[in-house]
Symmetry: C2
Subunit: 407 residues, 2 copies
């Protein structure tokens, strides 16, 4: 080991964000290092759900759309996201799932670049993002999804590129793109950029406006703590909003939804990217999730993320360097991956000991650090337990090899 | 009046479905005739939300995807819908909003009929359905949305029709289509049918299988009581499932979502129509909503719907026949509309007296009858209050003319 438990506890005592852990309900005896997959339950969420379900829906029924501002929820909740991602409130919305949201913006982007036939992405981008682009390309035969090796994206942008679609932080090892430089390269060639921020939003200090992003989407249920399957967000840079048309042009994106006009007439601004009736219960949970960021400086959050992962890497390498291989680069997001030939079984053994991370095929142990609630001492302890499990081959038991449906 | 309050109460006493009202929490002093817009709160819903949020998410965190079967929720909840709409459980899924779901099936349908260029619908179909078709046609330039006057649909189907898209029950007056005859006409011409069941599911006895439907979608938050903005359902007839490809081909519709393959490989069966991560909190509320149909025969439900609306029409016409005009045909769903030149103000006056319906432009008062919880005596009383408001011009006050955002 490179640090004592006392030293780790001293880091917690000095942590300017330590107070935020009380905003969550975390079970005793669990070290939760999977907030990058499902954020922990905010303490305020059960009450927020009860308020919306029992008092608003139950007592005020349909009148709640006006009385409790349900109709404004997608934008109101998105406004809480604005300081987290470095964008203006009227550039953001929460609405559908990440995949649906991505389809919406991807299709809008290619329609805004007529005559260009390529959606450019990289090999190994998150599968659902590639799948969504494939679905769009199947629907619009003039389109092609082209993927290039990581690192070759900027040089592959040309006059036929309609949109560059990338995930900011890789879901496996956490490699992070330099958004500003990709945006510049795309703009120089007349292409748009569409970023998936699922593994960045709520963990890194983002500056969507300052780095020149055109379009972005991101997950609500990871670092944003919105709950399982929470609505995703979308970002459309202000100058582009009037140029883009959502292909999922439902009534909530209409200029006057309750005029019931037969022809779609897009709303002004970001609202045109709404589609169907907003999911009010899910948005209530998400609103409570975003409130956990209240008063938090994103620079502090990113600094703590970096410190947590550095402690974990150092401790794991010191204890089990011969057994696992670090699979994350230095420029990374808020999770780290270590390769082990029996990653699945090792993770099951960790979970049995109360350390919850996850695995990604084929051989990655993945650990996420949510700087709002993870502590240095528990990171230290997780490394100690991992060392123990590897040293004793505790993972090599039949029960730890039984695959579950979701990994 | 044509019936006394005693007679209406006798109908309640004899109602075989009267027991189901206890499955809902309805506020005292309110006569709720808008369950066709937002179903009432089921008594079990707050507990279901607390269970999923506090115990499952809070205590078991990410492991809940396996431990509590979250990953199977879209199909498990849809299985509760199967007897309600007359379909097999493996022909149904709950996933995205109605508009998104409609886009998904509409695009899949036109891709399954290459060489045909027309989406056929009728003038006055629910706007968001037309808007979604317009969005698709803008994306796929070879496609055209063609609408014809109501009643002319069957004769307009021809060899260029890819899909006939209709709403089963009209959202204004409640006019109902004969699904079997439209399906036959479409199939004779080689076209597919796609039905929007938003105003039918949970109020009428449907037989999607027996009437030859190909595709359908419907709302989860009206008669199905799933809560504001609940996920919508989709139906794909078994024989079509392997022929159709969702354009919104996200990871949850992949044959092996956790294999993280770069190329989309659709799941077998209905699961291929999933897109993103399922909205677990919303699905928990929806599951509680659908449980309110437990043990209910749909024929009884439709019979009660018909009886409720008939009592309301008779009482309203007897009391205020000179002031309002019935705007619903005999063949209708579970809501009725009456035209009045000051419909908006009249409805505000009704709401102020505790009778909640809604209005639809330009001049319709709309009243929905949810046979699981509405009572004959309250329908009778609502008609009495409406008569009173019209007779005294109680609606003609400035406060009742102030338009809210949602009507």
């Amino acid at each position: 080991m490179t640090m004592t438990l006392d030293q780790a506890q001293a880091l917690d005592a000095a942590d300017p964000l330590a107070f935020a852990r009380a905003r969550f309900r975390l079970p005793d005896g669990v070290i939760y290092l999977d907030g990058n997959s499902l954020g922990a339950l905010p303490a305020a969420t059960p009450g927020a759900l009860a308020e919306v379900a029992e008092r608003q829906w139950g007592d005020d029924l349909i009148t709640s759309w006006n009385r409790h501002g349900w109709i404004d929820a997608p934008g109101r909740v998105a406004a809480l996201l604005a300081p987290i991602v470095g964008a203006a409130p009227d550039e953001l919305l929460f609405a559908d799932s990440t995949s649906v949201t991505l389809f919406k913006l991807l299709a809008a982007a290619v329609q805004a670049r007529p005559g260009r036939s390529v959606i450019l992405s990289e090999d190994g981008n998150f599968p659902t993002d590639l799948h969504v682009a494939q679905g769009l390309a199947r629907l619009v035969p003039s389109l092609t999804l082209k993927t290039v090796p990581a690192g070759n994206v900027a040089s592959a942008i040309d006059g036929d590129t309609a949109v560059v679609m990338l995930t900011h932080v890789d879901y496996r090892g956490g490699a992070v793109h330099d958004m500003a430089s990709v945006n510049s390269a795309a703009h120089a060639a007349g292409a748009l950029t569409l970023w998936d921020l699922s593994h960045s939003a709520g963990a890194l200090a983002l500056d969507l406006a300052g780095s020149g992003c055109d379009l972005a989407v991101g997950c609500g249920y990871k670092y944003l703590n919105g709950g399982p399957g929470a609505p995703a967000f979308l970002f459309v840079a202000k100058p582009l909003q009037e140029q883009l048309h959502s292909p999922l042009s439902g009534w909530m994106g209409h200029a006057e939804p309750f005029a019931f006009e037969p022809a779609h007439r897009p709303a002004a601004g970001i609202a045109r990217f709404l589609t169907g009736t907003p999911p009010i219960l899910a948005l209530a949970a998400l609103e409570a999730g975003l409130a956990t960021f209240d008063g938090i400086a994103m620079a502090d959050l990113e600094a703590k993320s970096r410190a947590l992962s550095q402690v974990f890497i150092s401790e794991v390498e010191a204890r089990c360097g011969g057994e696992v291989r670090l699979a994350s680069p230095a420029a990374r997001g808020s999770h780290v991956a270590f390769a082990h030939p029996h990653a699945y079984a090792v993770m099951q053994a960790l979970i049995a000991r109360g350390v919850i991370g996850d695995v990604r095929a084929p051989d990655l142990l993945r650990f996420g650090f949510a700087p709002l609630y993870n502590r240095f001492a528990e990171i230290w302890r997780a490394a100690e337990i991992l060392g123990d499990i590897l040293a004793t081959r505790e993972w090599d038991q039949p029960r730890f090899h039984q695959r579950a449906k979701v990994t």
